[in-house]
Symmetry: C2
Subunit: 555 residues, 2 copies
Amino acid sequence: MLINDILQILETKGLDAYIVSHGNRFLGQDILESEHKIKHLCGFSGSAGALIIGRKGCFLLVDGRYELQAVQEVDNSRINIVHRIPNISNICSVLEENSMGHIGYDAWCWSATDMSMAQNRFGDLQFTDIGDLVNIDALKPVKVLHRDTKYAGQNVDEKLQIVRDFLARQKADYFLLTAADSVSWLLNIYAEDLPYSPVVRAYALVNVRGNVELFADNLQTDLPCQPMAELVKFLEKTSQKVLYDAWTTPKKIAFAPMKYATDICQKLKTIKNTKELEGMFNCHIRDGVAVTKLLMWLEKNWQGKTELDVVRKLHELRLEQADFFSESFATIAAIGANGAIVHYQPTEKSNKQLRQGELLLLDSGGQYLDGTTDVTRTVALGIPENEKIRDFTCVLKAHIALARQIFPVGTRGSQLDGIARAILWQHGVDYKHGTGHGVACFGNVHEAPVSISNSAKYMFEEHVVVSDEPGVYCEGQYGIRIESLLASVKSEKEGFLEFTTITRVPIDKNLIDVYMLTADERKWLNEYHQTVYDLLVSYMNKEEKKWLKKACSPL
Amino acid sequence: MLINDILQILETKGLDAYIVSHGNRFLGQDILESEHKIKHLCGFSGSAGALIIGRKGCFLLVDGRYELQAVQEVDNSRINIVHRIPNISNICSVLEENSMGHIGYDAWCWSATDMSMAQNRFGDLQFTDIGDLVNIDALKPVKVLHRDTKYAGQNVDEKLQIVRDFLARQKADYFLLTAADSVSWLLNIYAEDLPYSPVVRAYALVNVRGNVELFADNLQTDLPCQPMAELVKFLEKTSQKVLYDAWTTPKKIAFAPMKYATDICQKLKTIKNTKELEGMFNCHIRDGVAVTKLLMWLEKNWQGKTELDVVRKLHELRLEQADFFSESFATIAAIGANGAIVHYQPTEKSNKQLRQGELLLLDSGGQYLDGTTDVTRTVALGIPENEKIRDFTCVLKAHIALARQIFPVGTRGSQLDGIARAILWQHGVDYKHGTGHGVACFGNVHEAPVSISNSAKYMFEEHVVVSDEPGVYCEGQYGIRIESLLASVKSEKEGFLEFTTITRVPIDKNLIDVYMLTADERKWLNEYHQTVYDLLVSYMNKEEKKWLKKACSPL
């Protein structure tokens, strides 16, 4: 259906607006292109957003990363672009501000938490479940694959035991898991349908004896699996104690007698076991080989090439690596002003030629059977101007500040966020995105709840993996971002943690003003480059070795 | 009543536990000594805590500041001291962990938010309002005084207009204000009953025409005022739209048809107007004179003196200052190991002699008619050891890092918290208290919602006042804290803020290792001391001038 059709239905039903979320029943998880309701309705292709189709106006809420992109993709004579984080509070505020009080929504696509927040904080708004009006979500069959314990590091029985113990402690009968990445992690399963995330999109009902039932309508699997409708039937009538996580469970199936509990798998999966850490370290070497070879290729071959040429070349280089599965998100190769569009992806339409004197921002990652990568490097084509060198060095200082920070167990993501931004703020510069996100091991490249951002409540523990990606963006000119993944490890001092950087790709020294670095920062960078050299050199031929040696030589 | 009496009542009523909050009907506001229910029951005298009197055990929840103090004050054979922030979630967790499911409480002493959190997150616990079982709260008559606009900077009509506009926008009839500091700020009134906060403890009902009715049972005032019982009657039966803030309103009077809204005065009062800022600047000079004279006196006279002598002398010096009203909290003068007890206050019983080689931590503040102060200085008696110098210099670096930080409008308190702690964390050191709290202008020395702490969601705006007070505490040895108040002001760069330090007291240079400071830090300190000298010198006699000159000379 299109916006006009939906507006007609609203009129018939006497409703003021219909709200459309980015996700489907697997709230907040990756979606297929064909499932992108908001793109279908208004053209906005970003990976987060909320659309209000209202009789008094249409509103697209997007966060800082997508402000520029939304303007380019959306017809703003029809749709008002609102620069607010697309959460339910902001959606409700926009509804209130525009005097739209009777709202239709699809209770499968909004969490129980979303709707109780809306109810509690915006008592004057009335929400009615009128189901999916967009109707583009056609399910295709998906095969469930089993992940080898040599990669997962822990077998399913061990993981289930933790859930069973939890259920016993809570005197509960069932845990309903509704987050695709929790289910995939718990059962060591994966799938190939999503372009960038190997998760299986299914719900799982785990009972206190450790029996598991999957619920989905399109899975080909040897595991017990029933249609979603059966789950709804069961939940409606059961008198047993079922735990569920209101943040990841659709309002549709959050029946009143069910009990709230945090999905313990969400947190458990963020703490990598020894095998997973080993896998993450190893795949980062192979991924580092691919990205470093790309940088070499680029230096010699950039002339006459386009952003999409870079994307394709990098894909080829990753395909050569052992255990490569897929990219972990759509590669961002952004030249010049495109780099200032934080989540720009080149398309046939937007594709630009690489040009002398410009910066190329390259943000990409891979899914490997043993782990997941995500790395951003910004490189100069030709000799860069002083202004770019100054900004790049500031971003590098911010990146290093976080990478070498020691901090107590339990430190909040927002505290670390301030530490990364401090140096940029001193120069009157900020970036409109988080500093870091959790990264799964062969799972979602954005793994909740680990986060480093202005309001991240997450409390750090040992052995989580998080990105470190400060940036500077000059609209219409250039974008700079430096991103590596960090793993949290015990520090010498009892009760403290520190980060070890696991990404292995040189940082462009042509963009560094060495006089702006402190002795500690220079030492950090030289040691980092030495490690990159040591780990990558054996994968390189003679000519590549020479390039690598130079790229990694001390400042 | 005593714990045993309460336990008997619980048995009679078939309840497992009774929970006792620190506050009274004015949740979270300052209380009189005679109103301290937790102290009455178990001896703990701290300014925050929660007591569970349970048939399966008694538990006192205290935060990091009070861990040592609780151990000293409480009989731990009867009461288990629990080191968790005393909020409702942690209280419920302790109740659950100890299998106490039927809980009695006094619905006047817990906020509507507290109880709905308890209900939503801990569905298995059942709470019953059984009123006040402690019964020590005997009301005394209190006179309401009017604050001159020359200090308040804004008259009552102007302030009421903001509330009226808000009510009109919300299409509401009334705003029920239940926070004592909101009511006092809105009506430019104050009182003298509390030892440290000049707020009037009353509720106010403001209607859309700007009429105000106070509710309290002990006020002597020329303003319209009715007994609390009348308010309950009105709220019970009214069909009009009454807004209330669930965070500051007791569960008792949060009747279902009332509508939730944030108490707008809470935020408005944190943004100081020109007169208030002027008053804050001015009173900090006079307060600086008092504290600086104390430091001079101390240097010459400390031998043979005790902590309480310091408290008394400082009080005398503040009494000499114009427009001094009261202290803003009980002065902390802590020698040696007492300094490691974060909120230690010397009493006749704990009072200790000052000793050579020890550090004295002095944390105090004043209420003046034109503003409120809060300052901590740590000074060495005799020649300090290297370890203390190293720790003091680290704390100073943390203090300066925050004081000279530039940051965007809207930066979260938790982000700034990380920036202050970063340098200490690098040394494997942390402090178990927030970095900063908001400070009112002639009001609460701890003013919500401004905060700089690990989980502070507060977003900074122009013209708020906040403390900057990192510390290092070595249990059994010494405590170091450096605290000044900062005001947020526009920075050069559009959209950014910076701090200006308004506290005027020298920082002990004998405790600084100048080689640990960067050039920027040294410059900051020298400029700070120059300002202190320039502003205080005219209040000093010849001998004092000499001392001040030396104390403020450049490093």
